[in-house]
């Protein structure tokens, strides 16, 4: 099977700053779930920002191939339409923009790119209802402005709901577990698990092992000081929980 994502010797930084990523190599195939773990300051959020195309970050060395094509130079909206989805660590509140209006614009942009017909209001609502029941989300979230007045758990669930609607090929979950109590974590994790698919890859970026109790990864990588210092299966995560990052970080 061809690689969905191939990261080679990636060095990246916040524009004008020092390199935060210092040579990352990572290969992700469709259907796989990867967890990237690491201590604070390891570069986890920088990695997700670079993959999503967030302004203010620059790649200094190396390449990021998505479906065989270089991602650098593509805007965040182009990446999203090509099937890359970033679930935000801190979903942004956008007063005045209705959640449904926003999501329909997003879905139709993505569908257009895929060569599918745009959905009218009725077709869109039908699609929404189907995904809501899949994820056990109440529809009152939808009537509000994007993320405005949502609890932490609602925001994260809304991210997963958007993911369900947009059906990305590559989903990057950036600290999706942060700020969630155990019930909310379980609900979000269940949603993600239902979105596991042979055609879809998921990269989870997380600080804690506990997310991996709910979403079982195929591979676990440890990121420390801008490099992947260890890779393995899920037992690596358990090992980390017991021993901490320090012994790996010092090897970086």
């Amino acid at each position: 099977m061809t690689n969905l994502l191939t990261i080679e010797n990636l060095h990246a930084r916040i524009s004008g700053g020092r390199d935060i990523l210092k040579g990352i190599d990572l290969t992700v195939k469709a259907g796989e779930v990867h967890a990237i773990m690491g201590p604070n300051g390891a570069g986890k959020s920088t990695l997700s920002s670079v993959l999503a195309g967030k302004p203010g970050y620059e790649v200094t060395v190396g390449s990021v191939l998505y479906q065989g094509n270089e991602l650098q130079g593509l805007g965040p909206d182009e990446r999203a339409r090509e099937g890359i989805f970033l679930a935000f660590q801190y979903p942004v509140e956008i007063p005045g923009v209705n959640n449904m209006y926003f999501l329909r614009a997003a879905l139709n942009a993505v569908r257009k790119q895929r060569g599918e017909a745009e959905l009218d209001a009725a077709q869109f609502m039908k699609a929404v209802k189907a995904k809501l029941s899949l994820l056990d989300i109440s529809d009152d979230l939808l009537k509000r402005p994007v993320n405005v007045g949502f609890s932490g758990g609602e925001k994260k669930r809304n991210e997963i709901f958007q993911m369900a609607m947009l059906e990305p090929k590559l989903a990057i979950l950036d600290e999706t577990d942060s700020g969630l109590d155990i019930d909310a974590l379980r609900a979000v994790a269940n949603g993600v698990n239902r979105l596991r698919d042979p055609g879809r890859a998921i990269v989870m970026i997380t600080h804690y092992q506990r997310l991996l109790d709910y979403i079982e990864p195929d591979f676990v990588h440890v990121l420390a000081d801008g490099k992947i210092v260890a890779s393995g299966d899920k037992t690596l995560a358990t090992d980390l929980e017991a021993r901490g990052y320090a012994h790996l970080a010092s090897a970086a």
Binding site: F88, P95, Q113
Partner: protein
Amino acid sequence: MTVIKPEAAPYIAAYRAGVDTAEPDWLRARREAAIEQFATLGFPTRNDEAWRFTNLRPLAGAALPLAAASLPNPAIDGIALGVPTYRLVLHNGIPVPALSSTQALPAGVWFGTVAEVLNVRPELLKSAFVSSDFAGNQPFAALNAAMFRGGFVLTLEPGVKLEAPVEIIHFNSGTATHTRCAILVGEGASATVVEMFSGVGAGWSNVVAQVELGDGANLRHIKIQSEAAESIHLSVTRAVLASAATYSDLILSLGGRLTREDIHVALSGQGADYTLNAANLLRDQQETTFAPFVEHQVAGCTSRQTVKAVVAERAHGVFLGTIAVHPGADQTDAKQTNRNLLLDAGATVDTRPELEIYADDVKCSHGATVGDLDDAAFFYLQARGIDPHTARQMLVEAFAADIIDTANVSEDLSAYLHNHLSTWLGGLG
């Protein structure tokens, strides 16, 4: 011997040429006094504190022609509300009966042009005219007092409640049009008035309006300023609210090269309430000065002002807002907010919110912000596949549409206002 300002000369000549000897003496005397006042004042300059941010150069060219008597009727499709209203169309201030529909008004409502009022109910005009003759040092109001021909008067007898909106379409086809308007709502009466300013060419609309609300009266006043791109729109509104009267003012300003909106609201009866929601949308080299002055004259009144501006390209937005609380106006509850969204490096904003408080027991707040698009929100929308152009439009629309959505107008009016906003956004680069 008074000194006549040079820029006033062509206007004085036009005034002299247009004197109508058939008008009542009191009116002619007032016009004469007003033109003398204008002759001495001339145009304001940047040395006048109230005009220091306003660039009047677009007015400095040759004096614009007054309206010719007969012109083809303007096309009002897309301008008119499109729902049943009591409608008056004024073309350069001159009524267009073929496009108007003011017949079916209920008893107790009087709605007509200035000329009709002079014939039928001169006392109405005199009262509104005299009370709006506050011009003081406002030269354009003085010029209006001297020159006005067109305009409208709407009066509601006590207790009359008008369901359908009263709609006035002011269409300027490139002339100097001095318009005088009066809305007089009697005790306990209520109405919705929608004024649309539209036009073609490089005209000048110089509007003076008087609003008087009796005890417990209720007026919803919506104004859309969508004049031609090269035109000038100067407007002075004076409103006086009696006890427990409610005035809801909504202004969407989109057109014109140079716009100035002076609004003077006197809360003169206990429990009167004024709400202003305004959005000024500016691009190209447009300039708008928005100057509300809200005066709490007695105790227990409330006022809420939210004025927003979207300033793109090389446009310039000015906000000069004042809340004045008189001695004894205790339990005043007043709030004023000015928010500005700058979209381009060449866009500028001057904002000066002011409080003048001479009472002790009051709750007053004001604030102004100037900012650009929220980068985080802009990225978030794009991260979901929405292109940057659309994302920007969505965020600008959200910023401005809030003015419409919080005003709680009917669905028809809301759709009408949203349409005008969307049209403007569609032209945004």
